[in-house]
Amino acid sequence: MITWVIILGSLFILALVIASVKSYKKDRTLDEYMLAGLNIGPTIGVLTFAAALFSAFIFMGMPDMFRTHGIGAWIFLAISDGAMVFFIIWFGYHIRKKVKSTGFKGVSGFLNDLYGSKLPGYLFFITAFLFLVPYAAIQIRGVSIFFGATFEGILPDWSWALIIVSIMLIYAEVGGFKAIIYSDAIQGTILLIVIWLIGITCIKAFGSVESLFAKVEEIKPALLSVPGPNGLFTVQFLIASFFAIILIPVTQPQLTSRVVAMRDFRSLSRMAVSLGVFAILIIMSTAFIGMYGAVKYPDASSADYLANALLFDQKEVVGALAMVGLFAACLSTTNAQIFALGTELRSLMKGSDKLVLRNTRIGLFVFAIIALVFSTLMSDELALLARTSFTGTSMMAPVVLFGVLSRKKPSRGILILSATGLIILLLSLLHVVPQHIGGMRLDFLLYIYLALGSLGFILFRKSTENN
């Protein structure tokens, strides 16, 4: 397999070099470097969106989630993603309309313009930093542990993390957002191909889909329904996850900037529909890989199960492609996240293009190093940590939505609404505030709080306008 990994890995690195060189322009503007000139077409759009969204979390986290918690994982992600693509059309239209009048350098700067204050931008940036850095770190950690276990004795875990971060920094610094988009397109294509090759092998191991599910029913029938054997997929958990995920294009800046950077509404629309189909195809295959693991490796650790199901039970070339795909997935998502933080930082800065670009590049380097350090401290539950990241940033949804939808400057009270939601969530993650109150999940209660608070602001504004 090593030979195949070297061949396919070299081809992947070569593709990255070509993408970086092709994207590099000596006299490019700051907008070209940071936002690819706001001109992404539908095909590249769907691949970059999917790559920024799906990543190592879908490659490793979802099969493991299906294996451990059962088919409720489909409701958790596939249905939420389906609703998200519908939401992209609605939100995409409104934010693009607003961007036409204000311009766009990043969500934080955009919010400052809409609110006429620096507070919303800083609040958004801090939230993005708090929840994107750990998310980037868990991807780096997941893949480096996986590579470390697979190539035991060749390189230590931390050196894989260092390789990922180094490659990411080099091609982001050279090629900018455009290079990231091209690398996303490469990764998205690899992801779709490899995940289906693995899925088909997993089905073939049992002869058919019917035999696979019949075996799961025999061994652990609780996996075939909600809430699953560990009781994770309760209605409250799934509803809270639904909101966290559909709000991703609103509050995760790496995806908001992709919505804005699409060439036009037609490109955005085609991207959204294709993304929906892409998500269904990918997640369905992870369900088969997960069910395969539930039968073959019910008690194995996550790392052992993934190493066997994704690599050693596959033909050598497919296993090697999976290694490259995983590496690519980790690279493109962490890059999207770190670069998004750079974009947000840039949108808060003032000064000449040259100065801002230099400071942004320094910022990218610092964010990447912080993610690298964090990656040595994180736990291994990829899918659930990704959900925490989505939930965290979604606390900013009222700030962004009021900014985008209001004709006048929104009330600063919205900032207090989102900030209190964020603080309570952070306190619960630090175990200062309980994660369940009166039998209700705290994240579920926080969404009710944000929804009712937002409704209150709408009614208050309407009544003052009428008076």
Partner: protein
Amino acid sequence: MNQDRKTRIYRLLILLAIILSIITFTPLVMPYGKHEPSLFHLPYTLWTGLLVALCFVILTWFSIHNHPGKEEDES
């Protein structure tokens, strides 16, 4: 198609998406502890969930063709 009709259809599609979201979290799609009846050997929640996800994609497809701001953004 005139703009008013497009707006009405688009609003109807939003309503359908909201209804579909609500239905998802009822026993109609995810009955607790039950995986029958299966369809093409897929457990109940998986095939109903697949249908819901496909419905969202279809609603998205219709919504882009009836979006009141479609021409406005392209102009």
